[in-house]
Amino acid sequence: MGWTDLLAWNPPGWGSPIFRGVITTLQISFCAYALGLLIGLLGARGKLSGGKLTKRLLEGYTTIVRSVPELLLIVILFYTGTQGFNSLLAAFGLGPVRINGFVAAVAVLGVVQGAYSTEVLRGAIKAIPVGQIEAARAYGMSPFLMFRRITLPAMLPYAIPGLSNLWLTATKGSALISVVGYVELTKITQQAAGGTKWYFTFYTTAAVLYLVISLISLQGFGMLDRYVRRGQPKVG
């Protein structure tokens, strides 16, 4: 069997399962990234203008998550999450349920992403000249309006490079989800490679697919970067 047969769309080729793996990987990465951004936005806000306790807690969260290996965090969070959820159900007299693998994967990766997003967004918001925020306040803008009209567009040029890196980390980090058994690109590749013993072919295919995702994402973020910097003087 040549590699064209192995990667054919229909069984015994693995084309269609691998394609579904790519889609799942993208879905997990995208949802985890979005969750991470949400946590990051709240976290950055808390770190910049929260009370003493909020700041302490957020500092602990970002420091611990960023200094413990991702793989270990994923395994610990996955185990804690599924165990905790089932013991919560048991406390209400309900039997254990199987946790939806997708939701668990997104939650776990999202919590990890959130710590990095918090730092990226905090830095970006802090880089906005104070005068702009004060001017917005002086106009009597509500906090939400101020965020939408001033803070968000003003911080994006500072945040995009960091957010671009984070998205690449999310897509590559989603490969680690295969360890807790959820079937995405890496897991399906493992199954294909193990089943057919064509290890080189399948793992190289997966590598190429991840590379394509990375390269297209880089192009996309490059365009986004140029868009959010429109109207800014060119540097260098």
Partner: protein, 228 residues
């Protein structure tokens, strides 16, 4: 949750810690040595070599380390036994171990990330300094050894600590190819005690401590290196 059981496993934990540290040091040192030519050819050329080095960095940085490790461990690992002279060579006991593939994958990964950083560092050494060195009649190699590399190294030094920490955080993946480093040791303890949290939280604390130590170490090194 009973943390006292961990005392029985102390030798295993220490062994795991040793493997983690060896993997980290080996891959950082050899990776950095590889990164020097990879960074340099991208600045000096020739074009085909520069393109090759750039492509290497892109591939390493654009694909998950886990996949790179699997390509080496399962791909190369399944190829080697079919080649008789490799099977009978003195290297075979090493080539059979997951440790070899993990060390190789981590080294290449570090070389890829650091190669891109070194490219920037080599390019940002002021031209005048290199011209001055050449005007002194230094050979190209002497320029590299005396001026270009030390200056480039000084530029990357502040980022090197962070890169080393990232590398440390990548090492647990080695457990997936049978290397019993810290995370692998925690997995073994979990399987024999069936108690999840004590071993996992303990290694998390150890990684945390290692991160802290690396930060301090690089701060110390940075203070030793003269600014000018």
């Amino acid at each position: 949750m009973d943390f006292t059981v961990l005392i029985d496993f102390l030798p295993l934990i220490l062994k795991g810690l040793w493997y983690t540290i060896v993997l980290l040091i080996l891959s950082c040192i050899f990776g950095f040595i590889l990164a020097i030519p990879i960074g340099l050819v991208q600045v000096t050329g020739p074009k085909p070599l520069a393109w090759l080095a750039g492509a290497f960095c892109t591939v390493i940085r654009g694909t998950p380390l886990l996949i790179q490790l699997y390509i080496l461990y399962y791909g190369l690992g399944s190829l080697f036994p079919q080649i008789p002279w490799i099977r009978h060579s003195f290297m075979w006991p090493v080539l059979r171990e997951g440790f070899f593939y993990a060390a190789l994958a981590f080294t290449l990964s570090f070389a890829g990330y650091e190669g891109a950083v070194m490219k920037g560092a080599f390019a940002s050494v002021p031209k005048g300094e290199l011209e001055a060195a050449r005007a002194f009649g230094m050979s190209p190699f002497t320029v590299l050894r005396r001026i270009w590399l030390p200056r480039a190294f000084r530029i990357v030094l502040p980022t090197l600590g962070g890169e080393t920490i990232l590398q440390l955080k990548a090492t647990p993946i080695a457990a997936l190819v049978t290397v019993v480093e810290l995370y692998g040791a925690a997995g073994q303890i979990f399987r024999s005690t069936l108690d999840f949290f004590p071993p996992m939280l303990m290694v998390a604390v150890i990684y945390f401590a290692l991160t802290f130590l690396i930060t301090r170490l690089f701060n110390f090194v940075e203070r030793q290196v003269p600014q000018r």
